[in-house]
């Protein structure tokens, strides 16, 4: 098995993942707190992060349940929010090529951040390195944060610290390298407009699936991808 942590350029992926990891620990902790206060046990809370590993979907399920919503609506919302991972799975399948066991493990680790870091790279080897370096770090951080939150359980409001902005802010840094091509910029523009205009009319989670259709700009164009990545500029 390849040790991706020793692969060329692994360091910049480690640096980027640790920065995202800090946010994951904080958000994992606030998920842990919410989950325990919604009546889940420590074991259930940790199992959810380990098995589901999709922050937006977990958060949504817990907040619906703790607000007294029905199990069905909590479940439906959570499933819709995780549907975008299917689209990411499509993007990641050429990168996750390999043995069955590595694909099956890799699939669980496909999330916004690992997909964004990997697909920002210009060649196959770097894409793999980006994925296999960021995935274990982020998996650990999310679950470690969940455990801490569930254990300590004292409630803070993450929004007071501006932490609800952490994800859009993080996604901005992750998006930038994808904007270096014209098709990338078009796809991004389409995604933003589609989401904002559809958000008031469609259930949560659906507009983002419509946004994914921005990928069709790839049909029209053949420009090569300039080699530049999310962590250039980082020391």
């Amino acid at each position: 098995m390849t040790n991706y942590f020793r692969a060329p350029q692994a360091r910049r992926f480690i640096t980027a993942s640790l920065a995202i990891g800090v946010a994951f620990i904080v958000f994992g902790a606030s998920f842990g707190v919410l989950s325990v206060s919604a009546g889940a046990s420590l074991l259930q809370t940790c199992a959810m992060s380990l098995l589901v590993f999709t922050g937006a979907s977990q958060m949504s399920a817990i907040s619906v349940l703790s607000a007294g919503g029905t199990v069905a609506s909590a479940f439906g919302g959570a499933v819709l929010l995780s549907a975008r991972n299917a689209v990411y799975g499509l993007a990641m399948s050429p990168i996750l090529r390999g043995s069955w066991s590595s694909r099956l493990i890799g699939a669980q680790l496909v999330i916004d951040e690992t997909t964004a870091l990997a697909t920002a790279e210009s060649d196959e080897t770097l894409r793999r390195t980006a994925f296999w370096v960021s995935a274990p770090i982020l998996y650990f951080c999310w679950n470690f944060g969940t455990f801490l939150g569930a254990l300590v359980g004292s409630s803070i409001n993450p929004n007071d610290f501006g932490l609800d902005a952490a994800f859009p802010v993080m996604f901005t840094a992750l998006l930038m390298p994808h904007l270096r091509t014209r098709v990338g910029r078009r796809a991004a523009l389409f995604g933003a407009i589609a989401t904002v205009t559809l958000a008031p009319f469609l259930p949560i989670g659906i507009p983002i699936l419509v946004a994914a259709f921005g990928m069709l700009f790839g049909l029209s164009n053949n420009e090569p991808t300039p080699p530049l990545s999310v962590t250039d500029g980082a020391p």
């Binding site: 098995l51 909590a74 501006g162 994800f167 859009p168 802010v169 840094a173 990338g184 949560i204 980082a234």
Partner: protein, 100 residues
């Protein structure tokens, strides 16, 4: 919160994640499709940024998060390190909440 809920959610979302990996699997995709797949994060990330910044549930609006986003765009554009982008964006949002 029941175990049944946790396991069904886990199965559903793993199904989603594994779908692409299993359907496409080892096959080599035509170049056009390959290019499309690599554009997915551009489209979806910017969608998520828009959603996380300008919506609250199903209603649209502008609040402190927009300031955080503006700071993050500036910091990213100046090619500041990742961690600086996050801290600056989050910090700006918190400051606006504190003082406005």
């Amino acid at each position: 919160m029941t175990w049944a809920f946790i396991f069904s959610l886990a199965v559903c979302q793993y199904g989603f994640k594994a779908l692409g990996v299993v359907i496409i699997g080892q096959r080599k995709m035509p170049d056009a499709i390959q290019r499309c797949l690599l554009l997915i994060p551009a489209a979806v990330l910017s969608g998520l940024i828009a959603k996380d910044t300008f919506t609250m549930g199903q209603s649209l609006g502008i609040d402190a998060r927009a300031v955080g986003l503006a700071v993050a765009v500036l910091a990213t554009w100046r090619r500041l390190p990742f961690i600086v982008v996050i801290v600056a964006g989050v910090g700006a949002t918190a400051l606006v909440r504190l003082f406005v």
